[in-house]
Symmetry: C3
Subunit: 287 residues, 3 copies
């Protein structure tokens, strides 16, 4: 018996998530089921992918994740289950939801769901709720040990798992170029694609000033020199800062404020960020 | 020990739902408790009824549902528990919350809660939180096997369970007349009262065009010819479609769009929908 | 094994809460974990404190609560665990989150978390997610019995636990002066600091009229004579009323309306409320 963790873009306002829970408990009433989030923006496989990489590493080995963010329900996209390098399982439509896990953690095996076996009995007439009829059902069977990983269906090449384009942060001329991957929705911080190790190659330490430049396409949206803080408490209330987020990547925030709203900064392809060590020795408010 | 599933209009922003969980776990720490939704619009027994019928069928036999959507807390409305034809239990104020379950699944037995027995000890001074003090407490006792169904209280006639008016969809002159029962909140689809079997009597098959007319009272709000799609993927992104929803009824949506917002269409009594087979052979975009 | 209940201001839109669950289940997969709420307004320790007192009393003895509302993450504020007079445990940054529990229920023992022992292995590089790396981890260990209360860390004086200023309601010249502590978010009721026992010293009984005066600083915002109702059903739909809330304190509401929005009334320091027995014998609509 392993934990079953469900994610979707369904929201919690209607009965869809509870129907998935019910199907899973009908497979095995003793299951340990919880929700990752159901507030993924509709059809946004990129954000689904990001929320998985933010979370899966903190769960026990063998945990089964079910993700249902599926613009192509009813299309020919495959339904797959993968085994990660860390020994966890993720069941999802093969639409890019596994991008970060494949890229960062690694996928060691993949199988396509055999719907002739792994489909809720009697559900054949509805073609629109695969989350309930296929994904939750198959995830529950795997978590409960009714089937093993091989029982999901025929093996497919892990390399064939669909990936969304993911830009790697680069360091050139003492400047790091990265993307704004995702928002910390509640607190308005910007989470970038820049890993801490790359950032440290700028030769900076806590308390130093970092020059930040944020662009939307070719348009400069924000430029400022920010403190590289060990944590929010190293900045004044209302002061912007650069810090290492809980994914070990660089993030930009305002202490007790909302960076994203303050400067109307979003996420995704057109948004880029540059970081370099500030050349000027600016006065530090904290001294 | 049976699953306990709780629904309310309390939202999740304060401690009310957790207090109900706490009362239930105080009855039995081993209980399996989860939430259907707590986002029912305040006092809306119709939507509570709809969310129950959307969900209960997917849960194991013997599951105990507690619904607390209660405009009449403290009034003389009864507090009841019912047994459905499928062998599940629902505990609720008797205010119409059981309309769809009674109409569609069937209720085989009903009991009025005896509050002299089934009330959280020491809770007599607060008259406003029956959800915690009576419903969650009684539901937990039933789910944990502390009481059996007869232990809820005296038997009442299942026929006496309050029903909200529910209009049955009709077929006349090759046109089906139905209601817009509820929104799929997150995706903006309209879920109608028209069962799939009735719809198929129009002699249509997947790929055919259906003429849709939506009225608010006497005012025509929407008229168009839509593809009858097996699933969203059969329509272009942004194209409207008619499909069979997860309750086996007809629904109207825009693929990756929001039908309800696009045309300002709501739910409830004044909203009606008509469907008939399109007479014109329109060009199919998909060909 | 005791229930673990988690509260935060993280919202449910990303993976933060699920990462905490994962850490806790990694300590012990058999844990019983649930959420109090994750919708505390950001950094609002006062509301966190209020939601705890609204809830903890309904949970079994020995339940472990983890609260992560933490404007000072990374600062020198202590991380503590306390034992309440009722035999429950609460783990939180020591920032006022325990104000109401200390004041109303009582704290009998307190310990500072020894982070050299009670910190998620390998989490030392991230300084920003103590909720996951310290609080959830320590809470899970305590709930699972991996450590006992003494294992949290060195004892500290319960009296030293930080309290936010809390005004006590007073009765003078037949008028009670109190504060508006918090909103019932979903229904717009105002929850005051006035205990039922103090209120009853006005010599009132159900059905009597109460004169209510609400001020924002020195500005009078609302003055009216309201029915003291046993429950909402004693008032007409749309009628305001005074009642005893689920915390055994006085509250003001509109039956099936939203008092807070109707009169633009908020909560916190500048908002005060007075109650006295109405001198005029007004006509009662209900007679």
């Amino acid at each position: 018996m392993k934990p079953l963790v469900i994610m979707s873009d369904f929201g919690l306002a209607d009965g869809a998530v509870s129907a998935m829970y019910g199907v899973a408990y009908s497979v095995c009433e003793q299951l340990n089921i919880s929700s990752l989030t159901h507030e993924i923006p509709q059809y946004n496989a990129w954000e689904a992918s990001y929320r998985l990489i933010q979370t899966v590493g903190y769960w026990p080995k063998g945990t089964v994740f079910v993700s249902v963010v599926d613009p192509g329900v009813g299309s020919t996209r495959r339904s797959i289950a993968v085994e990660t390098a860390a020994g966890q399982y993720i069941i999802t439509p093969d639409n890019g939801t596994l991008t970060h896990v494949k890229h960062i953690s690694g996928i060691v095996a993949a199988r396509e769901i055999d719907e002739s076996i792994n489909r809720l009995p009697g559900s054949g007439e509805s073609y629109t709720f695969h989350g309930r009829d296929i994904y939750a059902y198959t995830g529950a069977r795997l978590a409960a040990g009714v089937i093993d990983f091989a029982g999901v269906g025929p093996e497919v090449d892990p390399e064939s798992v669909v990936e969304l384009p993911i830009a790697v942060a680069t360091l050139e001329d003492n400047t790091i170029h990265g993307d704004i991957d995702v928002l910390d929705v509640r607190f308005g911080s910007l989470w970038t694609s820049i890993p801490r190790e790359l950032f440290l190659r700028l030769g900076v330490k806590h308390g130093d000033r970092i020059e930040i430049m944020i662009e939307n396409g070719a348009r400069l949206v924000y430029r400022n020199s920010l403190i590289y803080a060990r944590s929010f408490a190293d900045a004044f209330v209302g002061e912007p800062l650069v810090y290492v987020n809980s994914l070990d990547r660089m993030a930009v925030a305002i202490n007790q404020g909302d960076f994203s709203r303050a400067y109307n900064i979003g996420t995704g392809a057109p948004w880029t960020i540059q970081m370099r060590k500030s050349r000027l020795k600016e006065p530090s408010y904290g001294e």
